[in-house]
Structures are given as structure tokens and as C-alpha cells.
């Protein structure tokens, strides 16, 4: 994305700042990173313009914590994964893909259909369960989501499942009654297994702008998030907002969604992510 240049000049730094803002990193973070970059360029006595962008990628990769933070699926089962997020970001689809990923690694997976609110949410999840070949625990439409979570956990224990993934209804983080409902689901799981839910994943849509920070903050306050799934990275949006979320809330991206198929889920790679910001 960066123009080819001979010299390291002000226009190069301006261009990098613009690319970062357009990647949804946020103006303040972009400005800070450009300042750090200038300092590093001086410190390392860099003279070639072509070396500047890779250096910036390196700085971004450092912010993202380096080591890839995988899902903690290696504890004695059932490992409970609770999936949350605002409306339409890709929770249900991600659960289908995650179930497939776990099953492909030889794990026995069960899905809990705790979105009892949205039209045809249960049917949608059942189709995914059928595609992957895993059981979906459900109640009737309108049932208490915490009751579905509870029953799913009992079923997971009884059937010796390795992983239980719980789908929840999309909800805006600003709706306190809906956030209370989420806390209740969390408490119900925690009462049954002290470490459950082992993973609380916030699903974020890569097309989201700065509002993602507010989403991460409020969902985290409600139920202590362990990771983020960044979806729809197969589009043109870069998802740069996760850098700010990492810096201010220390929540790592663990998985990325790159399409609508069963197989379109990848473990997050900070290096690839940093590189993609500039291509």
C-alpha cells in the first residue's frame, strides 16, 4: 500500500499514519505509533525508505504480544467456551467453524443453543451442528438461556464431551438488562464447574470501527473475556481496532474468521495481521 520512495521524509510518515487510520486503528494510536517509529528509525540509524514499513510492522507485532494465544483446550473436560458479542458479528457461524476445528482434532464437541430469542437462531445453529456432526442441546424458543446453558453442561458431562461451546443471542453492550442476562449464564456455568467458562470469547466484526473498544470494555466488565474472535477478515476491512483493545484491555485475539464456510477459521497470527495492514 505504501508508495515506493527514495528518502525517508515527512510524507512517508504521513502516509503510514493515514494507512493506519484507514485500517481502523484509531487516530491517537496511529499518531503514537508514528512517534515510536520515528524514534526507532533514528535509534537504528535507518536510511532506506523500504526498511521503514517492516519496522512499523514489527512495532505493531510487539504490541500484539508476540506469541500466539491459543484457546486453552488442554484442561480436563468438558472445556466450556462461551461465545458473546453484539448483533450480527458472526457468533453462530464461528461456533459451527470452531466445533469443526475441535472435532477435526479428535475432540468430542457439544453445542449449547442458548440464543432462545432471535428468529430461527436455534434452527441456524442446528444446521451447523448437523454439518459438523455434533449434538446441539436446545430448549424451545423463548426459554431461559441460563437453563439451556445449564442443561448443555449436564449433557456435556454425561456424554463425556471434551468441549462445550455455548451460543448466546447478539446484544448491544449498552443494554444493561441483556448484559445482566449474560452474567447469569456465566454464573450458572461457574457454579457447575469452578473454572467454567474456561474461555469467554468476544466475537468482533472486522468492519467495526472505534465502537469495538466500547464493546470490548463493557463485555469484559460483565463477564471477564479471555479472547477475541475477529470475523469477516476476508473483506476489505483490516480490524485495526484490536490493537487498541489489546493495549488498553489486554484481551488477545485468538481466532480469525475468513469466510462463511466450515473451514474458514484460523488461529490468530500477529505477524500476518501486522503485514496485512499494509497490503
Amino acid at each position: 500500500l505504501v508508495k515506493v520512495r527514495k528518502n525517508i521524509d515527512e510524507s512517508l510518515y504521513e502516509e503510514l499514519e493515514e494507512i493506519m487510520i484507514e485500517a481502523d486503528m484509531g487516530a491517537d494510536i496511529a499518531i503514537d505509533l508514528v512517534e515510536n517509529l520515528r524514534g526507532e528509525v533514528r535509534q537504528r540509524k535507518i536510511k532506506e525508505a523500504v526498511e521503514v514499513t517492516p519496522l512499523l510492522q514489527e512495532l505493531i507485532q510487539d504490541v500484539l504480544g508476540g506469541e500466539n494465544q491459543a484457546l486453552m483446550l488442554n484442561v480436563p473436560g468438558p472445556v466450556v467456551v462461551m461465545v458473546v458479542g453484539v448483533n450480527g458479528v458472526g457468533k453462530t457461524t464461528t461456533i459451527g467453524k470452531l466445533a469443526y476445528m475441535c472435532k477435526s482434532q479428535g475432540q468430542k464437541v457439544i453445542i449449547g443453543a442458548a440464543d432462545t430469542f432471535r428468529a430461527a437462531a436455534i434452527e441456524q445453529l442446528e444446521i451447523w451442528g448437523h454439518r459438523v456432526g455434533v449434538d446441539v442441546i436446545k430448549h424451545q424458543h423463548g426459554a431461559d438461556p441460563a437453563a439451556v446453558a445449564y442443561d448443555s453442561l449436564q449433557a456435556a458431562k454425561a456424554r463425556n464431551a471434551d468441549v462445550l461451546i455455548i451460543d448466546t443471542a447478539g446484544r448491544l453492550h449498552t443494554k444493561s438488562n441483556l448484559m445482566e442476562e449474560l452474567k447469569k449464564i456465566y454464573r450458572v456455568l461457574r457454579r457447575e464447574i469452578p473454572e467454567a467458562p474456561h474461555e469467554t470469547l468476544l466475537v468482533l466484526d472486522a468492519t467495526t470501527g472505534q465502537n469495538a473498544i466500547s464493546q470490548a470494555k463493557l463485555f469484559n466488565e460483565a463477564i471477564d473475556l479471555t479472547g477475541i474472535v475477529l470475523t469477516k477478515l476476508d473483506g476489505t476491512a483490516k480490524g485495526g481496532v484490536i490493537i487498541g483493545i489489546n493495549e488498553s484491555l489486554n484481551i488477545p485475539v485468538k481466532l480469525i474468521g475468513i469466510g462463511e464456510g466450515l473451514d474458514d477459521l484460523r488461529v490468530f497470527d500477529a505477524g500476518e495481521f501486522a503485514a496485512a495492514l499494509f497490503t
Binding site: V86, A119, Q124, T207, T236, A237
Partner: protein, 292 residues
């Protein structure tokens, strides 16, 4: 708030004496910052700030006792001028049925908005027919049928084995036979860079020549809004935009980006998950929201 930050900025600047143009430029940095943090696209902000600056370096700011207020007024007026000026109504066909096509990215709110729009149009005296044009997403047809039954609104479906242009054609004919005068076609979410699926939308358009093509955009969309809006508009020639999920705390800068880049008006806003949560667009309220 932006108003407070501008007041602080001008206070500092005026303490050095009479205001000049470069003082105003310094203060305008706060406006630029506010727009970017509201997710207005970078290029759109650049162009917008040029217009604002032209007006902000005039005497009604430089000589004012309340320059911050003057600047806010200029910015607000420019935002309203850019986003407003059109009526929030659907283009009705001279000969029924009026055909409306709902398009947009995955998860934007098309299916829910289709049902909301049907409800709104029925309240205005129309007889809508909802059309299940998403043959890909698991249980998409079921979702629209459930919403239709909640509203006691007819839903036309041919299952997921027929292609969308054929479904749209048959739905239009069915509406004519059953006396429905508005046909609302829900389509599958798709990426603007998916050649095949964008071509499919074009095929639906060519088949039934809609009177209204609405792009459904999530209010929390960031910088990417211009790419999406531009591509959908170039391929389909949009008639309008619906901005959804405004019941959250997203500042909604995408509204300005989409209008600036396509010229198409935002006609409706989604303000909740319930089927009565659809309102006409108010540019002054949107301007307040974007400025924070």
C-alpha cells in the same frame, strides 16, 4: 465533548490576543479528531474539513466572543447540509407492485429490516409481500418466515434450490396475482469484493427492475464503509441507505462517509431488534451524534 474541547482550545488561543487564521486551524484539529473518532472515513474528513475551514476563518469566528460556538454551528450546519435535504420515502412505482431490494454486507440487518419495512409500509396503507431471496445462509428462509408470521405478513419462498433472479421474478408475479402492491426482497449478505455474488445481485436487478434498492449498513461500521458503499453503488445504483443498530453507542460516522461517497440519502434508521424499531432519518440528530 467536542464543544468543551473547542472552548478550551479557543480560550488558550485568545489569551494570547486577537484570533487569527492559524489559531482557527489549531482549533479545527479538535474537530478533525472528533470526526475520526466517530469513524468518519479519513478522506471524507479531509474533504469535509476543507469546507469547514473556508467558513471558519471568516470574521464571524475571528471576531466572535464565542468562537467555539461559532465553529460548532458551522460544523453542525455542514454535516446537516451534507446528510440531509431529502425526504425519507420509498420510490413508489407508477404501476404496482413497487419492488424494493435489500442489499448489504453479512450481518448488517437486512432480514430484520425487511420485516420492519413491511410493517411500516402496511401502516401506511400498503399490502407488502416479503420475499425470501437468501438461499445460502442456514435457516435464512426460516428466519424471514418467522418474522413474517410474527407480523401476520405474507412471505414468498421457493426454497433454496432456485436462484434469486428466478425467485424475484416469481415473487413479483405472485404479488400481481394476489394484489400485493409492495414486494420487499431480502437478499443474502455478501462481500462487495465477491464478484460472483455481486453479479448475482445485478442479475436480480436486471430481472425485476426494482423501484428501490436499499443498502443496509451497520452504524458501527468503520473506515471500510466507503469501500462497501462505493462498490455497491457502482454495481447497482442505490436509491438509498438504511443505517441499523443505532440503539447502541456507535457514533455512526459511517452515515457521513456513505452519503459523501455515493450521494445517496439515508432513508431509515434501525433503532432496535423489535419489528417496530424503524424510524425515518433525521440529519440533525445524526450530526449531534457524530460530533459527540
Amino acid at each position: 465533548s467536542l464543544a468543551e474541547r473547542l472552548q478550551d482550545a479557543f480560550k488558550k488561543l485568545k489569551s494570547k490576543g486577537k484570533l487569527n487564521e492559524s489559531d482557527v486551524d489549531l482549533a479545527l484539529k479538535e474537530v478533525r479528531r472528533a470526526l475520526l473518532s466517530a469513524d468518519v472515513n479519513f478522506q471524507v474528513v479531509k474533504d469535509f474539513m476543507k469546507r469547514v475551514r473556508e467558513r471558519a476563518v471568516g470574521h464571524d469566528v475571528l471576531d466572535s466572543l464565542t468562537p467555539a460556538q461559532q465553529v460548532i454551528k458551522i460544523v453542525h450546519d455542514e454535516l446537516v447540509g451534507l446528510m440531509g435535504g431529502e425526504e425519507s420515502k420509498i420510490n413508489m412505482a407508477s404501476k404496482p407492485p413497487t419492488v424494493i431490494m435489500m442489499v448489504g454486507l453479512q450481518g448488517a440487518g437486512k432480514t430484520t429490516t425487511s420485516a420492519k419495512l413491511a410493517r411500516l409500509l402496511r401502516k401506511q396503507g400498503r399490502k407488502p409481500l416479503l420475499v425470501a431471496g437468501d438461499i445460502y445462509r442456514p435457516a435464512a428462509i426460516k428466519q424471514l418466515e418467522v418474522l413474517g408470521s410474527q407480523l401476520d405478513m405474507p412471505v414468498f419462498s421457493m426454497g433454496d434450490k432456485q436462484r434469486p433472479p428466478a425467485i424475484a421474478r416469481a415473487a413479483k408475479e405472485s404479488a400481481i396475482n394476489n394484489g400485493q402492491d409492495v414486494v420487499i426482497i431480502d437478499t443474502a449478505g455478501r462481500l462487495h469484493i465477491d464478484e460472483e455474488l455481486m453479479e448475482e445481485l445485478f442479475a436480480v436487478k436486471s430481472e425485476i427492475k426494482p423501484d428501490e434498492i436499499l443498502l443496509v449498513v451497520d452504524a458501527m461500521t468503520g473506515q471500510d464503509a466507503v469501500n462497501v458503499a462505493n462498490t455497491f453503488n457502482e454495481r447497482l445504483e442505490l436509491d438509498g441507505v438504511v443505517l441499523t443498530k443505532l440503539d447502541g453507542d456507535a457514533r455512526g460516522g459511517a452515515a457521513l462517509s456513505v452519503k459523501a461517497v455515493t450521494g445517496r440519502p439515508i432513508k431509515f434508521v434501525g433503532i432496535g431488534e423489535k419489528l417496530d424499531a424503524l424510524e425515518t432519518f433525521h440529519p440533525n440528530r445524526m450530526a449531534d451524534r457524530i460530533l459527540g
